[in-house]
C-alpha cells in the first residue's frame, strides 16, 4: 500500500480535480482520503446521481468517479446527463459482472471497474485518464 502510494507520488503526473459519488459512506470516505494521497483534489462529494449532476454543473471536475447503483439516479444515467453539458471522463464502479472495459462517450473515456476494486485498480484507471488528458492537451497545443 505505502509503496504503491510512494511510487505514484514519484511519477508526478498531472493533478486532477475529481468529483466522487457513492451512496455508501465507507466508499465516499475511502475515496476522499485516498485520492489526495495520490496527488489529486476531490472537489465534490455526492451521495446519489442527482446530486452528482448538480455538483458537476457547479464545479466542472476533470474526472468523475461514481458508483453505478445509487438512489435517485444511477451512475450511468448521471453520466449521460452530465455529458449533455460538457464531456467529462468517468470511472464507474459497479457490482455487475461485466468485464473491465473502456469505452468512449462524447470523446471522453469511460472506464468500468468491477467491485471489489483495490487501490492498484484505481491507480491504473487514473493513470489511463492522465494519459488521455496529456494526449488531449498535446493535440490542443499543436492546433
Amino acid at each position: 500500500m505505502i509503496q504503491v502510494l510512494e511510487q505514484n507520488r514519484s511519477a508526478n503526473r498531472r493533478q486532477l480535480r475529481i468529483a466522487i459519488a457513492d451512496d455508501e459512506p465507507d466508499m465516499r470516505n475511502y475515496l476522499q482520503k485516498i485520492l489526495p494521497r495520490l496527488g489529486h483534489e476531490v472537489v465534490a462529494v455526492a451521495a446519489d446521481g442527482r446530486e452528482l449532476v448538480e455538483l458537476c454543473r457547479a464545479h466542472r471536475p476533470d474526472l468523475v468517479i461514481t458508483d453505478e447503483r445509487m438512489p435517485e439516479l444511477n451512475g450511468s444515467d448521471a453520466v449521460r446527463l452530465i455529458m449533455e453539458f460538457y464531456p467529462v471522463p468517468f470511472i464507474i464502479i459497479s457490482a455487475f459482472a461485466r468485464p473491465q472495459s473502456q469505452d468512449t462517450v462524447c470523446g471522453a473515456p469511460v472506464v468500468n471497474l468491477v467491485k471489489p476494486v483495490r487501490l492498484p485498480d484505481i491507480l491504473r484507471a487514473l493513470t489511463d485518464m492522465q494519459a488521455w488528458f496529456e494526449k488531449k492537451s498535446g493535440t490542443e497545443s499543436v492546433v
Partner: protein, 374 residues
C-alpha cells in the same frame, strides 16, 4: 462413469412358481430381487427407500392390489409400480392405474416385455430425477448468483476500510501483518464467491479450432507455480498433432488445468502424469478421447461416486468446484467427462479422467453466435 448399483425390485406374488420365475429373469438381468407372498408380508418388511421397482400381482390372498398400493407408494414414493394381471381384468387394471401404478403386464409374464417395461420405467425415472435436479440447481443457481453479486458490495466496503486502516497503522508492523491476514482471508472469500458464480452462470462458448495437445500444454504451463521444486514428469502419447476440435480455448484450458491440478495434488514425488490422446466415438459422431492418469493412490469408491459433485473436495483449501466446473464446460461443448477404469495401466495406479470431445473442424452455428456476442 461408474457402474450403476444393482437396482432393487420387490416382487409381491403368491404363486411360488411365478415368483421364482420372475426372480430368475430379473436376477439374470442384474437386479437385486426381494420377494413377498402377500400384502401383509410385503408391508411387514422395512427399508422401502431402497426400492426402485415394485412388481405386484393384482390378486393376492389377503386382498387386491389397489388396497395396498396407496400404502406402498407412501412408503416408497420413488419406486415405480408394475401390476401383473390376467386378460379379463380390465377394471382391476384401471383401478390400479388410478391408484398410481405406473404400468401393467399381462399373465403369463413374457420376460422380454417385462424387461422392456422396466427399462421404460427406468428411463422415465431418470428423466424425472434429472429434471428435479435441474430445477433445484436452477433455483439454487439464481440464489447463489444473486448472493455473489451482492457480496461484491459488502466486499468493496470492507476492502476500502482495510486499505485505509493499513495506511493509518503503517508504523506498526504487527498490526500491518494482521491487516494483511484479513486481506488474505477476504481474497479467499472473494475467490469462493466468484467461482460459485462462474459455476452457476450460463456458459457462452467462444469456439475456435484447436489442437487438444496445445490445450493441455497451456494448462500445464499455467501450473508452473504448482510444479516448482517438485519431481514431476508429464508423459504424452497417442496422436498428439491432431487438430479437429473446435472449442472455447480459454474454458478448455481451464478444464485441463483443473484435472492436472488435481493430479498434482493427489501424488507424492516423483509424480508421473500420463496424457494419452486417441480417436473415439461419441454417440453417432467421431470424437477425440483424451485420458489423463497419474501415479497417485487412485480414488476410493466414495471419491469415484462424488468427484463431479459441486462442493465435494478432499483438499483443505479447495472450493470443491473444480471438477464440477470442468464437467459443466465439457458438457456445454457436447463432450463427456468421466472416470476411467480403476485398474492400473502402464504402471500407473492413480485416477484416470477421460475426456471425450466431438470432432469438429469448423465452428458450429452456435459458436458463431457466441463469437459475435449475440
Amino acid at each position: 462413469m461408474t457402474a450403476p448399483q444393482a437396482r432393487t425390485i420387490l416382487i409381491v406374488e403368491d404363486d411360488v412358481d411365478t415368483r421364482a420365475n420372475l426372480r430368475d429373469i430379473l436376477e439374470a438381468d442384474g437386479y437385486s430381487v426381494e420377494v413377498a407372498g402377500s400384502i401383509t408380508e410385503a408391508l411387514a418388511r422395512d427399508s422401502w427407500e431402497r426400492l426402485e421397482f415394485i412388481i405386484l400381482d393384482r390378486k393376492l390372498p389377503d386382498g387386491n392390489v389397489e388396497d395396498a398400493l396407496r400404502e406402498m407408494r407412501l412408503r416408497a414414493p420413488d419406486a415405480s409400480t408394475l401390476i401383473v394381471t390376467g386378460y379379463t381384468d380390465l377394471t382391476g387394471v384401471i383401478t390400479a392405474l388410478r391408484e398410481g401404478a405406473d404400468d401393467y403386464l399381462l399373465k403369463p409374464v413374457n420376460p422380454e416385455l417385462l424387461k422392456k417395461a422396466l427399462g421404460r420405467l427406468w428411463a422415465i425415472k431418470e428423466a424425472q430425477r434429472k429434471a428435479k435436479l435441474a430445477a433445484r440447481l436452477a433455483a439454487v443457481g439464481e440464489m447463489v448468483a444473486g448472493l455473489a453479486h451482492e457480496s461484491r458490495n459488502a466486499l468493496q466496503r470492507s476492502q476500502a476500510c482495510l486499505e485505509l486502516l493499513e495506511l493509518e497503522i503503517a508504523d506498526r508492523p504487527e498490526a500491518v501483518d494482521l491487516v494483511r491476514r484479513i486481506q488474505k482471508a477476504q481474497d479467499h472469500l472473494h475467490r469462493l464467491f466468484e467461482e460459485l458464480r462462474s459455476y452457476v452462470a450460463p456458459i457462452q462458448l467462444d469456439r475456435t479450432p484447436c489442437s487438444v495437445s496445445e490445450l493441455w500444454r497451456e494448462a500445464w504451463q499455467l501450473l508452473q507455480g504448482h510444479r516448482a521444486g517438485r519431481d514431476i514428469t508429464l508423459r504424452e502419447s497417442g496422436e498428439l498433432q491432431q487438430k479437429g476440435c473446435c472449442c472455447d480455448r480459454f474454458r478448455m484450458v481451464q478444464v485441463f488445468r483443473n484435472i492436472l491440478e488435481n493430479a498434482l495434488a493427489a501424488c507424492k514425488d516423483p509424480v508421473v502424469v500420463d496424457v494419452t490422446c486417441g480417436n473415439a466415438r461419441l454417440g453417432d459422431r467421431d470424437a477425440i478421447q483424451i485420458s489423463v492418469r497419474d501415479n497417485g493412490d487412485g480414488l476410493n469408491s466414495e471419491q469415484r461416486k462424488r468427484i463431479f459433485e459441486p462442493f465435494y473436495t478432499t483438499k483443505t483449501h479447495g472450493t470443491g468446484l473444480g471438477m464440477a466446473i470442468a464437467n459443466r464446460i465439457v458438457e456445454s461443448h457436447g463432450g463427456r467427462l468421466f472416470l476411467g477404469d480403476p485398474a492400473p495401466r502402464d504402471g500407473l495406479a492413480g485416477a484416470e479422467i477421460i475426456l471425450l470431445l466431438p470432432r469438429d473442424d469448423q465452428p458450429r452455428p452456435d459458436s458463431v453466435a457466441a463469437v459475435r456476442g449475440v
